[in-house]
Symmetry: D2
């Protein structure tokens, strides 16, 4: 079927590539004419403006936005007036689901349908397919099913979950209509919150393995430092790349994130090209906000988020304050 794609960055361009390969028609637009040209070379129909893109689409139109979260609203403001009742607008980026709820209402008043799609798979999606979590009105989601089916990974060689009836729904194909507007990005938001927790679990565990040779270094002896009581218990020089590799093979903690960890560690066990200033995107934060609104305890996910804040120096003032208190009550000087 036909789809208009706005935003031809890595994600958008790869999605168009995947759609074209399966015989879909794509009308594409990007601020960069080069990005457009690159895809017209692959059988996509190029366009020179949003108006041109809309004009080239058959009704009812389907326009997929794959632009940075910060410019989704301004892009909608430009494209919505060009659309007609019955058309559908899809946001495939990392929007906050609360924005989806608002947008879907605003657009509905003009007869335009709005679909929110949370997409996981990152740079690997072109090859593996995109795991998609979808929110919005059922009829429109059904209408676009051919698009979703093509973008999704499909069943591949992942074994069926025991207990599932055969051919039950689309989740086995890697996409799911999760619910009303915002549902797609809500599920994607929590997905990312979980991702932070998983990543932190591996990082902490590997950190513990890495320091398992701490008994070899003679500790400083002063009043401010507790000596290690049993240095003979910490004499191990573990090869983290090998450990990550063996865990990929039949252990309970095998996962795709572990696969990536193993790849990073085999490339450079010292991870020297990284400084350890870990970014966080909005989803992790919004997940915690939801947890608190719902009164659902999420200490692991929250802690994982805070570790990222701290990695960027955002705990520095607090730490100074702790040192200042220690100085006040005990005359302790920093080391």
């Amino acid at each position: 079927m036909q789809l208009g794609m706005v935003g031809l960055g890595r994600m958008g361009a790869n999605m168009v590539g995947r759609l074209l390969k399966q015989g879909h028609q794509c009308v594409v637009f990007d601020m960069s004419p080069q990005a457009v040209q690159q895809l017209t070379a692959e059988s996509a129909t190029g366009s020179t403006s949003l108006a041109d893109l809309v004009a080239k689409l058959e009704k009812p139109r389907a326009v997929w936005l794959m632009v940075p979260a910060a410019v989704v609203d301004s892009t909608i403001a430009q494209v919505a007036p060009l659309l007609e009742p019955g058309d559908t607008l899809i946001d495939g980026g990392n929007s906050y689901y609360i924005d989806d709820i608002r947008r879907s209402k605003e657009l509905a008043s003009k007869g335009i349908r709005y679909i929110d799609v949370g997409t996981s798979g990152g740079v690997w999606g072109l090859e593996r397919g995109y795991c998609m979590m979808i929110g919005g009105p059922n009829a429109e989601v059904q209408r676009l099913d051919p698009i979703f089916k093509t973008l999704a990974p499909g069943p591949g060689d992942i074994p069926r979950t025991p207990g599932r009836a055969e051919a039950s729904g689309t989740s086995e194909l890697g996409y799911l209509h999760c619910g009303e507007s915002g549902a797609g990005h809500f599920v994607k938001m929590v997905h990312n919150g979980i991702e932070y927790g998983l990543m932190a679990a591996y990082a902490e565990g590997l950190g513990i393995l890495r320091s398992a040779n701490i008994g070899k270094t003679s500790g400083v002896i002063d009043a401010e430092t507790t000596p290690l009581r049993n240095p003979e218990h910490y004499q191990y020089d573990f090869n983290l790349a090998e450990v990550a590799e063996v865990w990929r093979r039949g252990s309970v903690i095998a996962s795709w994130l572990l696969d990536l960890t193993a790849a990073a560690l085999i490339e450079d066990p010292a991870l020297a090209k990284f400084q350890g200033r870990v970014s966080d995107s909005g989803e992790g934060r919004w997940t915690i906000t939801a947890a608190i609104d719902e009164a659902v305890p999420a200490p692991v996910l929250t802690t994982a988020l805070y570790e990222r804040f701290s990695s960027r120096g955002d705990a520095d003032f607090q730490n100074k304050l702790l040192s200042a208190m220690r100085y006040q009550f005990g005359g302790h000087l920093e080391k």
Copy 2:
């Protein structure tokens, strides 16, 4: 090659089964004659006592203990006097690595080698193979390589980690000599610590999804309860089994634990047969002890452990104390 197996519970029996199928010889012993009989029916050589088992093994002997952690030491006390210099004792259970260090020294003084093997894979190991983390003297570990190779999953269809040289070591086959005595159980210990963190991350995230319909229930209005400010943002009835399924397909958080989660949720989305009193075995606790000894922050892993403690009511007194303080300063009554 030949192996003596002591302890024919689910794990030990399955391991023997796997070894026999690949042509190894196994002399087996268990307190239960039925357990022994079941394996002699499958070509294992039975024995009626530890002495009988030792007598039936060729020198240098290799005796694998697959017994509960609590009886490893008493079993060693019985079997060690029957062994001779050059023999090897393997503990494949869930021992604390600090016990391994002690045991290996004690046994070395008698010329007996000691190998510690941390094993992951649980009830799935028979079919999938066992991921093994091994500690102990290199020569003995090499000697037993045929056993480890057979018990391990092998390469299977798990793709090679990008950047790895071909055929580089055994980790790709699912077993790894991690280091000196205790190294195997140390790595397994941290593996389980990570496991707790991963499990908690999924559980918290799915908990947040499950309560995403909290806006539908009219909240109690009283001075003790904050009303939900935006109930319209929490109107989603998510199908957790379908969400877990879709995440298995190309998402960043795909993992074996997620596979199991999907299976549990498809069986019963309400998880009605569980009460939520979550056990913890020693490894999670020992992981934290190591983190603290090493001064490596592990807030995610620790929090995951504490969530288990709390699930069993171990925070009840603390909570009463909080209510008591609130009553003292504000006259607040519990709801």
Copy 3:
């Protein structure tokens, strides 16, 4: 000076009592005529409606709202039309500072000033005075200084902070103009966030002391439970009430919350009248939201909040999920 007080619950009535004793004039209103009558018996001027209250106040009027957070907005909606440019409205309750920002703008458009006052001291305020954190336009806060000074504790016998110049500002008297609209409730919000953290610290510590005799109970021996390795280290039966008392005397952790803890424990060391379902008001939650917006790590404050959620059973589903996963991979049954 003259003040109108709306809302004569425990807090409002006590404040009026404190003001009357120092010679201020109070015009009071409450939905309950008895509450009004009780204070007119103490020289307050009663009123029968908001209109009556407003009519009895001299211009420029000052009307203090001391009503539940949930009805502040509806009360403002009723009283604001009765006021005139130059009048001042004070919210002394537990409003979200974001509501203050909105209200102050709305009221400013009618020439009415709005002051937000966060008040700490609970049921003890009548006797000790109220610690007040104030936000709003400077001129109005200055105008009401006599009211704040009377409600506040004053210097009392609390020693001057070393390094402070003499008579420097009002903070030594127990009230502080913190900044523009919302500043008072922002500071009070964080105050409560800290309160949660402090309370949890005491509760956890006392919980550890309480279980210091765990070595006396013979543990269950099964595969699901780790035996305590050193029961001889946990043979203490601590008297928590005495411990809390001694800590009040010269220790680093002496505090008012500890005073209250000591009082609660001397009354009943078993805290039998409490169930341990700990409420949380909005401030703790909003504190975390602010921390996340600011990217300031607040793991202690957040954890303290989550412990409260869990105390009310809000982690039950997560815990079931953990048990379900354990059953899936290891066949572990709950105990």
Copy 4:
């Protein structure tokens, strides 16, 4: 009564000073003759060696060790052979209670009594008195009561806890016999664990206040950073020194640690002389070990400890690993 004091650092010397003022006799020793001389100038009896100190004490002797935790055992090894059955040895430092249990057994076999005293109050103890938590055999603790009573703060002007009978025990005077050997240091250990939690709660809260002006800085706009949705809610420039001061006055979170915080902030609100590398002594770590052994959840205390680890860079490797994973799955570069 008479006491021998070994170790005349800040703590030991101040204690002797306090004892001398109340008419007790002190025989003192230190490796530094100057330290001895300084106290003989104040009516203490000096000694030139441990043997000399022991010789100058009347039987049954009482020798108080006030030396760094790391040298307590070696000091005991020197002094114990000089003592006789019926003598008492007191460790007033920061020993691990497990060492107390061992020492008391070893010394008991020689007829020497051992008392462990956890002491809080830091550099303020000379003036305020020392809060003491005492473990050991009851008869010896009673015998030394005059010493404890003099070192302790006494009732001072701290109000009696409501509900306490008059003159009930010594806890109101600031010292407490907590139980058998190790009990004193166990209670002191948990005291310090709580201290870490309290300190972290204040530090996090003040950190949130400090960043409450984050809406004033225009955020970077890129794909890696979530823009602050409501900058207008974060426009406050709080004066932290004033806020800490006002909280000292009648608020629920008033405490001695807050007094110190206020002092530190008035001296320098920027805390410029601190780097924020926060030390931790053993007690915080041992508290967590006890919590885990007892299966008592202590997430707040543990998190506070981990924040200190992180402040010293001990999370750096973990953070690099997180960045490496993000690079692997999303091509994200560190900022």
